[in-house]
Symmetry: C2
Subunit: 373 residues, 2 copies
């Protein structure tokens, strides 16, 4: 399996398999059992604007945001999606006027998530089109700006860059969780995207959610998902609900009880792993003259209750000296990474996944430590 | 719940809740159990062209088609989708050239599935556009023709209508199963769509599959689903695999053994229910002078081993006499149906779902029998 993944170049994808270890420790707590006759209907809750949202999933989303303190949920509609990818497309559909003469420009500050341009332009939509780096956007027409914070690939906290009139923001907060970055305050945006993949590691369930202020926007997003996939897997929503519930339980019980059934909360475990990995990576990078890593300012994390340094899900590694194409250079050393060009910048940077299984991450570090200039 | 559904007009949707009864009888046979640490990765089978296809789901698809005899699977690639809706969009993407000067025309003979036009034109794609009724298509440019057989809404067996050069066909065979129509021979098309919703009634799992001859087309469909939702729920694929397995088991064991653990196969059960419902509906319609129903020629079904009449999932009811808007007329009698306009024809017809729960279907018949001209 590992060698196959390497052959196909998949281990540069950010597959969050690191989390398997925690869920094995949790044993049967998150096992789901679904009898054959359950959840057969298309509909989950016909009274809800988002008629395919499983009520239990919606409930656990609200609860977890309250426990973690990373997003306001009051006065928001929850729209569930087949991962946050589908919700991103649903948001573009919802925020673009149906009868404009020109497609809406979609921008994000480089380096940006490598799939945004191809997802946006895949169908050559007349509603919206990718317009590149938000920093160089200088048109006076309406636009949609994607704000990914902490940012994929470089891990920095982000705010809107364009600040013109006629702009609408989509906040992609997939990584705004306590294992990756200090939680400074609850996000309070018009339209925010989250995904189970990066929260708990359950990428294969394909479940994301949007918190949406404007009911008309939430309704249009729901309509898009209806036309795209007639709703979202109920089985995966039920599984995601159970996983989020155990995460919230683990947070609450380690706070309130000294003799808890949980040794540490999910976020204590995952911050600890991320912290260790970043220290190991920095050691390797610092002992070489070939590479460098960004530095992140520490900040107070209201979840952990202390000042902490960010520990992003990706490391944005720079090849120093004359090396121009860092991805090719590293491939020559059997290190699969994703180069800067994919993210709208020069190829001196590559993105490294920090979320792989222990063995793969160790092998990665070993090979990286052997790279000579 | 029922009253809510009525308020929102959902029971005209074809929600296949009729099948809950069979799956309750099957008890624990189709229960799935998924531990928290399983199926976390994005990837299911990196050696497969469709890298997010769960191998067990692919295996059961092939097995069920062989047992039923309704589709050739040899020399086909299986692409799994979030319902067949997503596969329809993936097929449009795959069959439309990326650099054409004009969007590809997409046609289907009226009456056609009511969602095709809005699904096709939702994003105003530059790759393809809805061009209406296949019967009146008279352009000389390349086109995609959708062949839905048996047809939704009217239940008739369909073949391609356009027959010009430059045409590509998508066969939507969602209803080509032995409970709905005689299985005359295995379908042998270039690109065929199926869905678990209409096969077994598990609409909430959102799982469909495509059988695709050309590997380049299968690869492009896979790419679309990657950009749309980064794959398809593993949980639902595992559940669908188990359900298809029990269906195939029920077919094989009732054939080979007289003392089977199955009293009747899934298709024997579901044909029996459909047959009874159609007889009841015809009785009501025949005793009224207000309505009529189409007649279907009987044919030999290789699955059931006898000549049988089609028992479609929808009844295509016609209002006779001067009644022009059958949907409004019936709504006045608290009967929710979907009128002909949605399907590209005049409003003298309405579509009735034959797949509702027993109680709802009985109530529907009762109200229909009380309609006076």
């Amino acid at each position: 399996m590992a060698s196959q993944i390497s052959k196909r170049g998949f281990n540069n994808s950010g597959d969050p398999t690191m989390y398997e270890k925690y869920w094995k420790q949790m044993g049967e707590r998150t096992t789901i059992v679904i009898p054959g006759w359950q959840s057969m209907s298309y509909f989950s809750d016909v009274k809800n604007l988002c008629w395919f949202l499983e009520p239990e999933f919606g409930k656990q989303v609200v609860r977890l945001h309250k426990v973690v303190g990373n997003a306001e949920t009051d006065g928001r509609h929850i729209v569930v999606g087949t991962g946050s990818s589908q919700l991103y497309l649903a948001a573009l559909f919802a925020l673009s006027p149906a009868n404009a003469s020109q497609p809406m420009s979609v921008v994000s500050a480089a380096p940006y998530y490598s799939s945004y341009p191809s997802m946006t332009d895949c169908l050559k939509s007349g509603l919206y089109k990718w317009a590149g780096d938000a920093r160089s956007f200088n048109q006076d027409s309406p636009y949609i700006e994607l704000v990914t914070s902490p940012n994929n690939p470089d891990g920095f906290v982000r705010h809107s860059m364009v600040n013109k009139t006629g702009g609408t923001l989509i906040h992609d907060l997939a990584y705004y969780w306590p294992q990756y970055t200090p939680i400074s305050s609850p996000a309070d945006n018009d339209l925010t995207l989250f995904t189970v993949s990066k929260t708990t590691g359950h990428a294969g369930t394909r479940i994301g959610w949007a918190l949406v202020k404007d009911p008309q926007v939430a309704r249009k997003m729901t309509k898009f998902i209806e036309l795209n996939t007639i709703g979202v897997s109920k089985d995966s929503q039920l599984r995601a609900a159970k996983v989020l519930k155990v995460v919230a339980d683990s947070c609450e019980k380690t706070r309130t009880s000294s003799s808890s059934e949980y040794n540490e909360s999910f976020f204590q475990f995952s911050y600890r792993v991320m912290d260790q990995r970043w220290q190991q990576l920095r050691e390797v990078v610092n002992s070489s003259s070939v590479f460098s890593l960004p530095d992140f300012p520490p900040d107070f994390c209201h979840y952990h209750g202390q000042v902490l340094e960010p520990r992003p899900a990706f490391a944005w590694l720079k090849c120093e000296r004359e090396l121009q194409d860092c991805e090719s250079f590293l491939r020559g050393h059997k290190l699969l990474t994703r180069g800067g060009r994919h993210f709208g910048v020069e190829p001196k940077h590559v993105r490294i996944s920090m979320l792989d299984r222990d063995d793969n991450f160790r092998l990665f570090l070993k090979r990286l430590s052997m790279v000579q200039p």
